[in-house]
Symmetry: C2
Subunit: 82 residues, 2 copies
């Protein structure tokens, strides 16, 4: 099944990449941009059909490797209709 | 308003970062992982209340700076209830 994991910096953690992009957009004439936060979107193909177990295993992957839980949050989305 | 832009590599474009993560997960005992694609998730705060114009401006930002349209696709999501 397909699983989407969104990794984002926790609130309060400085995001220099987001700041740089926001400033560049302002400089390019997009003055309406007030702020940007950049995260990762990881799409996994996992050979597991039980949704509860899938969620549990992917959470373990996030804690183990995919996210740095000191400064990042993750959320797990299993799209319907697979 | 808040806008979420998902940037992903086009199908067929090699994703070495995804391959490396998938292999690492396999090595860590997550044998059920068949494949991974890594993209960016950019959350923008934009000072614009008209949803049609917002979409149009953010599409322009994607074409101009946020994505490399030769190898990347983007999609724009304006969450409801703002």
């Amino acid at each position: 099944m397909q699983v989407i994991v969104n990794i984002s910096l926790k609130e309060g953690v400085l995001d220099p990449q987001g700041l740089a992009i926001a400033r560049s957009l302002n400089d390019l004439g997009f003055q309406e941009v007030d702020g940007i936060r950049v995260g990762k979107r990881i799409v996994l193909e996992v050979d597991e059909t039980d949704e509860a177990r899938l969620h549990q295993r992917v959470a373990k992957m996030c804690e183990t490797l995919l996210s740095n839980t000191v400064i990042e949050d993750y959320d797990i989305d299993i799209p319907d209709g697979q």
